[in-house]
C-alpha cells in the first residue's frame, strides 16, 4: 500500500481513517459472529497493514467475536466490521455466523437443539 503524502499518521486519527473512509462493510457481520484466522492469514504473506496483522494475531488462538475484536483494538464496531469483512473477502479470516433465535426465522429444530446445549452448559458452570 502506498500512502499519499497527506495521509494522517499517529494515533490521533479519525476512527474511519483505517478503513480509508469506508463505512460500509463488504459483508454484514453480526456483533457476536465468531472470527478465526485462516491458514492463508496465518502465513502472514498477504497482510496489508498493521491493523490486519493485529487482527490475524488476535484471532489466531481462540475464536473472537466481532465485538471482542473491536473492544481489544479499541476501535468502533463499524470500523472493525469493515476491516474484518475485507480480510474475510481476501481469505485471511473465516467468519462463523451466529445462530439466530428469532421467533419467525431459521430452522426451529436447530434452534431448539442449540438452546438445550446452552442450557446444559449453563448448568455446568
Amino acid at each position: 500500500m502506498v500512502l499519499g503524502g497527506d495521509e494522517p499518521t499517529g494515533s490521533l486519527v479519525r476512527p474511519y481513517a483505517v478503513t480509508r473512509g469506508r463505512t460500509r462493510p463488504q459483508l454484514e457481520i453480526a456483533l457476536e459472529a465468531l472470527v478465526e484466522t485462516t491458514a492463508r492469514g496465518r502465513s502472514g504473506q498477504f497482510l496489508g497493514g498493521r491493523e490486519q496483522k493485529v487482527i490475524v494475531d488476535l484471532c489466531g488462538g481462540r475464536l473472537q467475536s466481532l465485538a471482542e475484536i473491536a473492544a481489544r483494538m479499541e476501535v468502533p464496531l463499524g470500523v472493525a466490521r469493515v476491516l474484518v469483512a475485507d480480510m474475510a473477502a481476501d481469505g485471511l479470516l473465516a467468519v462463523h455466523e451466529p445462530t439466530g433465535f428469532d421467533a419467525d426465522g431459521g430452522d426451529e429444530s436447530v434452534g431448539t437443539e442449540l438452546l438445550e446445549r446452552v442450557l446444559s452448559g449453563l448448568r455446568r458452570l
Binding site: E32, L34, A67, A71, P76, F101, V118, L119, L122, L125
Partner: protein, 195 residues
C-alpha cells in the same frame, strides 16, 4: 472451501442484559463472564428526527454508544455472549442490532427506579423477544413482593419475575438458566399449538 477445521459448525449465541443506568448490568455480566467485561463503542449515525425534538436541524446526528459484554464458552464450538445494552433508552437503532437473533433478554430492575425499564419492556414486547425480569437486590434486601412488581410493570403472568443478586455468580447463573428454560418452554408451546 474445504477447510479441515470446519468439521463441526462453530457458532455463537447471545443474551441481552437491559435495564436503566446504574442498575448493575455490567456487574451481572462480570459475575459469570470468563473474561473481564469488555466495552465496545459503536459510532451511530442516525437522523435526529424523532430522537430529539431537533427538527430544525435536518442533517444527521452522530453519537457514540458504549456497551459492555462478556463471554461464556459453552463448548469448543459454541460461545454465548452477554451484551449489556446502553443505559440510554433512546438509542433504539443500537438495540435493533443487539436484539437481532438473540435468545432472549434479562431486564434488570431496581425497585427504587421501576420506571427506568418501562421503555425497554415495551421494546422487547414489540420485537417479540422473550424476556424475564430480574429484580436486583441491593444489599440483599428484598423490599417488594414480586407480584406487586409484576403488577406495577403490567407484564403478562407468563413472564418470569425473580430476585437476583447481580454480584453473585450462582444467582446470575440461575437467572440465565431460567431465561433459557422459559424460551424453550415457549417453543414447545408453539409446536404443540401447531397440531
Amino acid at each position: 472451501m474445504n477447510s479441515p477445521a470446519d468439521t463441526s459448525r462453530v457458532t455463537s449465541a447471545k443474551i441481552v442484559i437491559a435495564g436503566g443506568f446504574g442498575v448493575g448490568k455490567t456487574t451481572l455480566v462480570g459475575s459469570v463472564s470468563e473474561i473481564t467485561p469488555l466495552t465496545t463503542e459503536a459510532i451511530m449515525t442516525s437522523a435526529s428526527e424523532g430522537v430529539d425534538d431537533n427538527n430544525l436541524v435536518p442533517d444527521k446526528a452522530t453519537t457514540t454508544v458504549a456497551m459492555d459484554f462478556g463471554r461464556i464458552t459453552i463448548d469448543q464450538d459454541l460461545i454465548l455472549y452477554l451484551f449489556g445494552t446502553p443505559g440510554q433508552t433512546r438509542f433504539w437503532f443500537m438495540w435493533d442490532e443487539l436484539v437481532r437473533g438473540a435468545i432472549g433478554a434479562i431486564v434488570l430492575v431496581d425497585t427504587r427506579r421501576l420506571a427506568d425499564c418501562f421503555s425497554v419492556i415495551d421494546f422487547f414486547e414489540h420485537r417479540k423477544l422473550p424476556y424475564l425480569v430480574a429484580v436486583n437486590c441491593f444489599d440483599g434486601k428484598q423490599l417488594h413482593d414480586l407480584n406487586d412488581i409484576r403488577d406495577a410493570l403490567q407484564i403478562s403472568h407468563d413472564v418470569p419475575v425473580m430476585y437476583t443478586d447481580a454480584r453473585n455468580r450462582e444467582s446470575t447463573k440461575q437467572v440465565l438458566i431460567k431465561l433459557v428454560e422459559y424460551v424453550l418452554s415457549m417453543r414447545r408451546t408453539r409446536t404443540v399449538g401447531v397440531h
